[in-house]
């Protein structure tokens, strides 16, 4: 069933590639790493045979636009890729006219970590997605899991799965989790209500595992500065030495840079080698921006961003 879907998808995209005279198509191809796919820039319609779409297509593809500014580019977008592109348009990093977007109603991505915990050594070809289930072929026979249970944490609270304002809206994949019921602030709220000490201990615990590899920054579709504040040396704000000060400085300032921009695609948390629950950090910023300025990132490319903007009657409870 999902092979048919992929074949139809390839044909649709190939047709659009030729018809629109695109220079490139950004989508996913299979990877040799288990339970991963490879974000790929396809440069000719023939290469599309290799295209794949499944529950492991987590990495946000908007990130590949920032490195390929010229030409007319097609992108296969899920809800979060589309929203990240809106942010890039707001920031004049890409122009809408150069893009041909094929939107895919997102089925919700799967947590590689959870699957590997449950089935150590699992390979991609042992996983079969269909309807609301994921079936894993194990040596002791198949095991069927609910897709909802295996979702990536960030996808559990996503309410923007269907990409808007696209040139081509594709049919939904034959596998999908039910629409999310949780809100992104469901996890952040309770932490905010914990006693300060416990909160501090929680983040000290989680963040002290950080090895400052900057993978979360590198994968983020919205981090594109030529010189990141982590790397400037006049003045050097921080160093890559693994000290709590540097780690804290990095995260706080990166979070501030994401305020009103983060589209909660989950790529950063997904890539973190230390399994740091970064959604708890970016979710906080997103919740505050929503509460204070009634703004959600990536929904409308024509709006100004909340932190480069102001209103006369902004909250001033913090001014002593």
């Amino acid at each position: 069933m999902s092979e048919d879907y992929t074949r139809a998808l390839v044909e649709t995209l190939r047709e659009a590639f030729e018809r629109e005279g695109l220079d490139r198509w950004i989508a996913y191809a299979p990877s040799r790493v288990p339970l991963r796919v490879r974000p790929t820039v396809f440069t000719s319609p023939d290469e599309l045979d290799n295209l794949i779409f499944n529950g492991f297509c987590v990495q946000n593809l908007a990130g590949y636009l920032k490195h390929h500014p010229e030409g007319r580019v097609g992108v296969l977008v899920k809800g979060c890729d589309r929203r990240a592109i809106n942010v890039l348009i707001q920031e004049k990093q890409v122009s809408r006219e150069n893009l041909f977007l094929a939107g895919i109603p997102c089925p919700g991505m799967l947590s590689r970590t959870r699957l590997l915990e449950e089935f150590p050594g699992l390979q991609s070809d042992q996983v079969e997605e269909s309807g609301e289930t994921v079936t894993v072929r194990t040596p002791d026979g198949p095991r069927t899991l609910s897709r909802d249970d295996m979702l990536l944490p960030t996808c559990r609270s996503c309410h923007h799965r269907i990409p808007e304002d696209v040139e081509l809206l594709l049919g939904p994949p034959p596998f999908a989790a039910p629409e999310a019921e949780m809100d992104f602030s469901a996890e952040v709220g309770p932490i905010g209500e914990m006693p300060r000490n416990q909160r501090a201990a929680l983040f000290a615990d989680e963040l002290s595992r950080c090895i400052l590899c900057y993978a979360c920054r590198n994968i983020c579709p919205l981090c594109y500065c030529d010189t990141c504040f982590t790397d400037v040396n006049q003045p050097a704000w921080m160093t890559p030495a693994l000290e709590p000060g540097n780690i804290f400085f990095y995260h706080v300032n990166r979070m501030m840079h994401m305020a009103g921009r983060c589209v909660a695609c989950g790529s950063c948390e997904w890539v973190c080698p230390e399994h740091i629950p970064l959604r708890l950090l970016y979710g906080k910023i997103t919740a505050d921006v929503a509460e204070l300025f009634s703004y959600e990132a990536g929904l409308d490319a024509t709006l100004p961003q909340p932190l480069s903007h102001f209103s006369e009657d902004d909250p001033d409870e913090h001014i002593g």
């Binding site: 000060g245 501030m256 910023i285 006369e312």
Partner: protein, 153 residues
């Protein structure tokens, strides 16, 4: 870069880095000085062009480098020399303040205020007030060091 306070609790005095905008708050501090108002010698003033010059970098860096508290002060809304600098700063600061509190930094360590050039007495009072606030939460022992906090108060 982390500071290990060597001083005994009794001898400890808060160290507060105060970023004051050139057009209002710095002049307010100056007025407090020429009016010979007394306030605790806990602040290290850094002159900046406008409150909007201050980014989260400066605030977190000051804490990282050993400050116990940070104050950012600028002109009242409507009075900014650059018209709207302080209004943009106001948005940035509320997000930062909430974020730091969420991560477990005591709220009293990061303070914002508006002080005009004629508010010498208000400036002196502000410093008295924030000195007590920071004193109440004690020395800052560095980020992500929960085990060492709260043992001193």
């Amino acid at each position: 870069m982390e500071r290990t306070p060597q001083v005994a609790k009794e001898a400890w005095e808060p160290r507060i880095v105060a970023f004051l905008c050139r057009w209002c708050s710095y002049a307010g501090a100056d007025l407090a000085g020429v009016s010979r108002l007394s306030y605790p010698p806990t602040t290290r003033v850094i002159l900046v062009p406008c409150s909007s010059r201050i980014s989260p970098y400066h605030i977190t860096k000051a804490l990282m480098a050993g400050a116990d508290g940070v104050l950012v002060s600028g002109c009242h809304p409507g009075d900014c020399h650059y018209l709207t600098g302080n209004l943009v700063a106001r948005r940035k600061f509320i997000v930062l303040k909430r974020l730091l509190a969420y991560l477990g930094i005591e709220e009293a360590r990061v303070l914002f205020s508006w002080i005009s050039a004629s508010e010498g007495e208000e400036f002196a009072e502000l410093i008295r007030e924030i000195t007590e606030k920071v004193r109440a939460v004690g020395p800052f022992r560095g980020f992500l060091r929960e085990e060492t906090r709260d043992t001193h108060v």
